[in-house]
Symmetry: C2
DNA sequence: TTGCTCATGTCAGTATTCTGACATACAGTG
DNA sequence: CACTGTATGTCAGAATACTGACATGAGCAA
């Protein structure tokens, strides 16, 4: 067994701890990590639908709609009440949301920087490549034959791997 | 920007995906990942208290007690109704729990193996060391000056990093 | 002994997220 | 055109995890 078997536990521990530190960092802003993820993704992909947003941030559509409503109430994001074409309602950051995201990003980046502080550049690269390989290896649903790759995008542009794929 | 900043997202994605695959793998056994974590830890540290168990598995004492009650109802773990000495109730696996854990471990190990399948031994080591460094770097509560290392235990023997430390 | 501190177990209430189900709107095929 | 399939938004309910609070018991100092 040795190390091989406990990388999963290390990932869990790292994620749990990172989440905790990010929550602490964002607390002064009154934002949660989920809120931040949502805002961050809206900057990367403006005008995205709530369903896509949900997949990108690893929650269900239902949860995302609850979160979006909170952010709308606070004036950080905006969404038309009616769709132009289909059913998808394009969601965007407001000016206030943009400012809030700037402030939050600075705090989050500091946490990430701290997390990686003791690693050299090659070590950080190795870590990133290792994680990317893990993600790619788990991207498909176990047995069932799958489309070639299509997934496992660059770190910052992950295509999303929502919990339910329905 | 670059990679440096998105390692956190990669960790989140990897953890989310790993959790999903583990849930799928355990479904035939009627166990959740949380249940598995609990049983696994009880094998590593038999006779542990529920509070310590909670810290080890990243949940609160309250949540752990709910989970333990489920496992007790299913006959997988046992716990005396009264403490010998303090208030802590030593919890242990039953024979049935031991068997269930064996079955679950085989499935979980397969998922982990699949996750790491495309990585060479040195790459896996680099990944594990990188994660361990991240955990160590985040182990302390933000600001406060800290002792050198002290933490960063071996992967499989993590000291625990519960959500609330109270 | 008394008093203080800390850890554990537990109760109650809240918040968040999920599962399940349904209606709507586009894209494709016959 | 009608029909099927897929995707989105939404409602309702249940499960899960959390925060807050309290009582109990051990350890330690005065």
């Amino acid at each position: 067994m040795s190390n091989t078997i406990s990388v999963g536990y290390a990932i869990k521990q790292a994620q749990s701890l990172l989440h905790l530190r990010m929550e602490e960092a964002l607390k002064p802003l009154g934002l949660t990590v989920s809120h931040y993820s949502c805002l961050h993704r809206l900057r990367v992909e403006p005008g995205i639908s709530a369903a896509v947003l949900a997949r990108r941030t690893f929650v269900t559509r239902q949860s995302m709609n609850v979160m979006l409503q909170q952010l709308i109430d606070r004036g950080l994001v905006a969404r038309p009440s009616q769709a132009d074409t289909g059913r998808a309602l394009p969601t965007v950051l407001t000016a206030a949301g943009d400012d809030a995201l700037d402030a939050a990003s600075a705090l989050i980046d500091a946490v990430e920087h701290r997390m990686l502080a003791t690693l050299s550049a090659p070590e950080t690269d190795a870590l990133a490549r290792g994680l990317t390989a893990c993600i790619a290896a788990l991207a498909h649903e176990a047995s069932a034959a799958e489309a070639p790759a299509a997934e496992a995008p660059a770190l910052a542009t992950a295509t999303g791997t929502a919990p339910p794929s329905r």
